[in-house]
């Protein structure tokens, strides 16, 4: 009982610490990465290679004036950034980031330290909580009493609803192959290789599903090329125009946390989770847990770099193009993937 409570406490603390540490790291990667892509230097004054720049940024944001504009709906205005951060952080709990079988600590069998404990709805929990993220942008847009904010909020809700559909349908294909909603079962199903060459990752038979899921993830996290809710050329800053200091930072952090969670989901669903191709799991017990954690972190890091790479390569879409892509390309493609997976399963190929 108490050991279980302790495990849950440790997992929450570590999870939040990891997510909150990912934010400054990703900010640094993004700024240096954009500089690399655009052939500039990027921030290089503070610390070696500008590594301390995020610390300085955080101090700047904390010490800025905490402004609440006149004419806002005060309660909802303050609620919106809270919801943004809460939703972003709580989706991470259900994601298994390593092999956690048979771990014991001082002779006590620890369950659920790395894999979420006995959550038989797994992916549905993540989707359910993530679908609530739209409230933060919508509320921020409405409560700010600013037309640019409102336009940003309305865009955000339309965009999220449209792409959620494609995202969910592309997840269904993965769930069909592993015939389980539990994310650790999804990872376990991707062990081994076909003909000793191709890893049994879902991305190979379900390339279309992987692509639609990634595109939908870009849209759900409001990242370029789909950052229409905060298009600075037309909407000042969109739904967070009226937010300053740490309230703005909450939105900023939640974007990067969402990105990390999306990258972790892509890894688990399509790239074999913590499985090292051709090797499988190294050792057992704590060795296996730590090695699988390292493999998982490496894969997530690669996908996060992909997010940054795309952001600084592609221009922003127009809003009607965004809607057209969502409804006329992504939804039909994800349905196509769904049918293909069904055919492959029926013919016994996967």
């Amino acid at each position: 009982m108490w050991a279980d409570a302790l495990v849950i406490g440790i997992k929450l603390a570590v999870g939040i610490a990891v997510l909150m540490t990912m934010v400054p790291i990703m900010v640094w990667v993004e700024r240096r990465g954009s500089a690399l892509i655009q052939d500039r230097l990027g921030p290089n004054r503070v610390g070696p290679m500008g590594l301390l720049q995020p610390v300085v940024d955080a101090v700047k944001l904390i010490t800025k004036e905490n402004l609440v504009p006149v004419g806002v709906n005060r309660f909802l205005y303050l609620l919106a950034p809270t919801v943004a951060l809460l939703v972003a952080v709580s989706t991470f709990i259900a994601i298994p980031f390593g092999k956690g079988d048979g771990l014991s600590l001082f002779g006590y069998l620890v369950k659920g330290l790395i894999v979420a404990p006995d959550l038989n709805i797994g992916i549905l929990y993540v989707l359910a909580i993530a679908s609530l993220g739209v409230y933060s942008t919508v509320l921020a847009g409405w409560a700010s009493n600013n037309k640019y904010s409102l336009l940003g909020g309305i865009r955000a809700s339309a965009q999220t609803i449209s792409y959620e559909l494609a995202m969910t349908i592309s997840v269904v294909g993965v769930l069909m192959t592993s015939s389980s909603l539990r994310l650790d079962d999804v990872v376990a199903h991707q062990e081994g290789a076909w003909l000793w060459v191709i890893p049994r990752w879902n991305v190979f038979p379900q390339l279309i599903g992987a692509i639609t899921f990634m595109v939908a993830a870009f849209a759900e996290t409001n990242r370029l090329p789909f950052d229409l809710p905060e298009a600075e050329a037309e909407l000042v800053a969109g739904y967070h125009t009226e937010y300053s200091s740490m309230k703005f930072a909450a939105f900023f952090m939640s974007e990067y946390v969402h990105m990390t969670v999306s990258a972790a989901l892509v890894t688990v669903l399509f790239f074999g989770g913590w499985e090292l191709p051709y090797v499988g799991v190294i050792g057992s017990g704590w060795t296996a847990a730590m090695c699988s954690l390292a493999v998982f972190a490496f894969k997530v890091a690669l996908i996060l770099w992909f997010f940054v790479w795309v952001r600084w390569t592609l221009p922003r879409f127009r809003f009607d193009q965004l809607m057209a892509i969502g409804w006329k390309a992504m939804v039909p493609l994800s349905v196509l993937n769904f049918i293909l997976v069904g055919v492959l399963i029926a013919s016994g190929m996967i």
């Binding site: 709906n73 909802l76 959550l119 038989n120 709805i121 549905l124 929990y125 989707l127 359910a128 909580i129 679908s131 609530l132 739209v134 409230y135 919508v138 509320l139 847009g141 409405w142 409102l150 909020g153 309305i154 809700s157 339309a158 999220t160 609803i161 959620e164 909603l181």
Partner: protein, 165 residues
């Protein structure tokens, strides 16, 4: 323990559904409805129906109520008009009908669910499988028929929304 969690969730559901009806700001109405659905999801979860809890959040809080909020913001409805007492007879009839319906629901609930204690703690674990088997097994016809109905509704909506070219 489970009973207390249930009582808190049920109490929150009742309080916020009252707020959803009574408050004059449509935005607050929708937001309190979100909290009602949260409380209902919590009740499903402590009854062991994790799948229903997740679906409740995905479908209602994540999709339908966002659409509500979207429409309210597009129409920019500030404050709802307080309905006057222009039609006292209708108001009285409505009250009688609502009371009767409430009484019928409570009666039915007490008959069908005689004891909360026997039903609440983990009625059936892992409810994804039973629900899936029921939907694609014994209830396959109804399931497919509903999807035909939904397709008809979508076609109707597209027909109504089309431009006159």
């Amino acid at each position: 323990m489970v009973t207390y969690v249930f009582l808190v969730a049920a109490g929150l559901a009742v309080v916020f559904s009252l707020v959803a009806i009574v408050h004059r700001s449509p935005i607050v109405n929708v937001l309190s409805l979100v909290l009602v659905f949260f409380a209902l999801a919590a009740i499903f979860a402590i009854a062991g129906m994790d799948f229903l809890a997740a679906i409740q959040l995905i479908v209602y809080s994540g999709a339908i109520l966002v659409l509500f909020l979207f429409v309210i913001m597009l129409l920019n409805i500030g404050w709802a008009e307080r309905l006057g007492s222009g039609r006292p007879l209708q108001a009285f009839l409505g009250l009688v009908a609502a009371t009767g319906l409430g009484a019928a629901v409570i009666l039915a609930a007490t008959r069908v669910v005689p004891d909360l204690g026997t039903v609440l703690p983990g009625a059936e674990k892992g409810t994804v499988f039973p629900i899936g088997r029921a939907l694609l097994g014994s209830h396959l016809f109804a399931f497919e028929f509903i999807s035909v109905l939904l397709v008809a509704a979508i076609v109707g909506a597209v027909y109504l929304a089309r431009r006159d070219d």
